[in-house]
């Protein structure tokens, strides 16, 4: 249904046509009903290249309404090119308020991070996912990975963790760290650092994951158990830093190491810009 009040004029509200949004919403409903299961959907061409968030942007377009407040982050930052352009896109085509504040946002579209500020009930976090299949690097055949998911045959995932310990003395995977959702499906949490994995567990917010190139949507409903895989004698651990944030002094947030001059000087700063600014 075209919306004559839209400022974007020739475009339908929130860019996608209503039938497409309906199809995506159906996929989202199914994904919410089967936590961690990858639901195929008819991904559309979006006005940005694959790998820049076409999956996340379609999910956001399908769920956004005029009274939503949108926050977009890329690697934790609100002010990077990708985040800024997606935020402008929705401000234009969906006529929504935007914010950089995690608390005020109703929808947060993200690439590579979960905000440090704890999410609350009623919020939706939309992840941009490049490779939705957690078993892809271990098993290239799609028919086989689907069978493995269907039969919950996840020995091979554990084999990859075993191999990591055998080679590095510890589980060396630091991002896109595989998780078990609701005790049933192994899921790729998208390339967030493993530091953020504990935030997914029993989160009060709804988590939606959109993969545009692979045309898959999956979800974790609020308060769903999300367990990072590990071994009894090599339990899951998150990254730690000896330094604190050079700007806000935070010791509990995820820090980026930034090289500041040609002499190799470096500083550690919070990757979550909203969190960092609020604390200064």
């Amino acid at each position: 249904m075209p919306d004559s009040n839209s400022q974007a004029g020739a475009y339908n509200y929130a860019y996608l046509d209503e039938q497409t949004k309906r199809m995506i919403r159906r996929a989202i409903l199914k994904a919410v009903a089967v936590p961690g299961y990858q639901v195929p959907f008819g991904g559309r061409e979006m006005p940005l290249p694959y790998g820049w968030g076409t999956g996340g942007i379609q999910v956001t377009a399908a769920i956004i309404g005029r009274d939503d407040t949108l926050k977009v982050i890329d690697q934790g930052a609100d002010d990077t090119t990708n985040a800024v352009s997606i935020r402008h896109f929705f401000a234009k085509v969906a006529d929504v308020a935007t914010t950089t504040s995690t608390e005020q946002a109703t929808i947060i579209q993200t690439r590579h991070r979960v905000p440090e500020t704890p999410l609350r009930e009623g919020q939706i976090i939309v992840f941009q996912v490049p490779i939705p299949e957690p078993l892809r690097m271990l098993e290239p055949r799609e028919t086989e990975t689907r069978t493995l998911h269907a039969l919950a045959e996840y020995g091979v995932m554990q084999v990859s963790l075993y191999e990591s310990i055998a080679r590095h003395g510890r589980i060396a995977k630091t991002y896109n760290y595989p998780v078990m959702v609701n005790g049933r499906y192994i899921m790729s949490p998208s390339p967030i650092p493993k530091f953020d994995n504990p935030k997914l567990d029993r989160s009060p917010a709804l988590q939606l994951y959109g993969a545009g190139r692979e045309k898959r949507i999956y979800a974790v409903p609020p308060y769903t158990p999300v367990k990072s895989l590990d071994f009894d004698d090599h339990p899951f651990e998150v990254e730690r830093w000896d330094e604190c944030c050079a700007l806000c002094g935070s010791r509990e947030s995820f820090l980026d190491e930034v090289i500041v001059d040609d002499a190799g000087q470096r500083m550690f700063v919070c990757s979550d810009t909203d969190w960092c600014e609020r604390r200064r």
Binding site: G155, V159, E163
Partner: protein, 256 residues
């Protein structure tokens, strides 16, 4: 005592080409059955039908499971059949590359079945893997090496360890010593023979090498053109072949 595997009227064809026709036999616990015949006689197809990798056009394969009791292999759900094939069964391929994960270490290869059924203690998995490496006569300091760095004979022994780690009751072997040089063959045959005895395994062994059949198997089935033309005790079949094709097969062994 009940047979561990009973096969009745097994028929499989690919289009108009019949690969095996009306095969029937029983395999008893602790017994090693050899299937011999020229290439193209349907040996491997038969083995794949027995192991549930191919669905036969007619006939049945009944397996006496330790966990579930008597079951019809082809009537099982895929989930149950796959579970069975990585717990109570083993499958040794001719080419070790088909049966191993070449990209991960020997330890991970051996540990995979353990992890598939829920083992989550790295130290224990590694200990078991190392033990098995020793049992198949590979130096234990090769535990963290990938199979790509192994010789052909070592890969085959690693594949055997990877299959036996879950204590299977029934092992299918497709030319386990094919393509290996004679001294390596002898070691693997020795190893298989002692493992079969100590672990009380039942096995179905496909081979075209009558020497291998003589060493390892208790009973022999001779196949030609998809049919079983003769079967009986191994020594009996090899020393006193009745069917013309078996006689030809036995006569064609090169004298050393």
């Amino acid at each position: 005592m009940k047979p561990i595997l009973s096969v009745r009227g097994l028929t499989k064809s690919f289009g108009r080409r019949v690969a095996c026709r009306d095969v029937a036999f029983e395999l008893w616990p602790g017994e090693v059955l050899g299937i011999v015949g020229e290439s193209g006689s349907g040996k491997t197809t038969l083995l794949n039908c027995l192991a549930g990798r191919l669905t036969p056009d007619a006939g049945s394969v009944d397996y006496d499971s330790a966990a579930y009791g008597p079951i019809d292999v082809h009537g099982l759900s895929e989930a149950r059949r796959r579970f069975l094939s990585r717990t109570e069964w083993g499958f040794v391929n001719q080419d070790a590359r088909d049966g191993l994960r070449m990209g991960v270490s020997a330890g991970a290869n051996i540990g995979e079945r353990l992890m598939a059924v829920g083992a989550r203690h790295y130290g224990e998995i590694r200990h078991t893997a190392s033990e098995w490496l020793g049992r198949v006569e590979i130096e234990q300091d090769r535990l963290d090496d990938r199979p790509t760095t192994y010789s052909g004979g070592m890969r085959q022994r690693l594949q055997i360890a990877r299959n036996l780690v879950s204590n299977p009751r029934l092992v299918f072997m497709d030319e386990p010593t094919g393509g290996l040089d004679v001294s390596v063959q002898a070691r693997i045959l020795d190893l298989l023979r002692s493992l079969v005895q100590t672990l009380h395994l039942s096995a179905v062994l496909v081979t075209h090498d009558l020497g291998v059949a003589r060493l390892l198997t208790h009973r022999l089935m001779v196949m030609q053109g998809g049919r079983v033309v003769e079967d009986g005790l191994t020594d009996q079949v090899l020393d006193d072949p009745q069917h013309a094709y078996t006689q030809m097969l036995v006569a064609s062994i090169l004298p050393v």
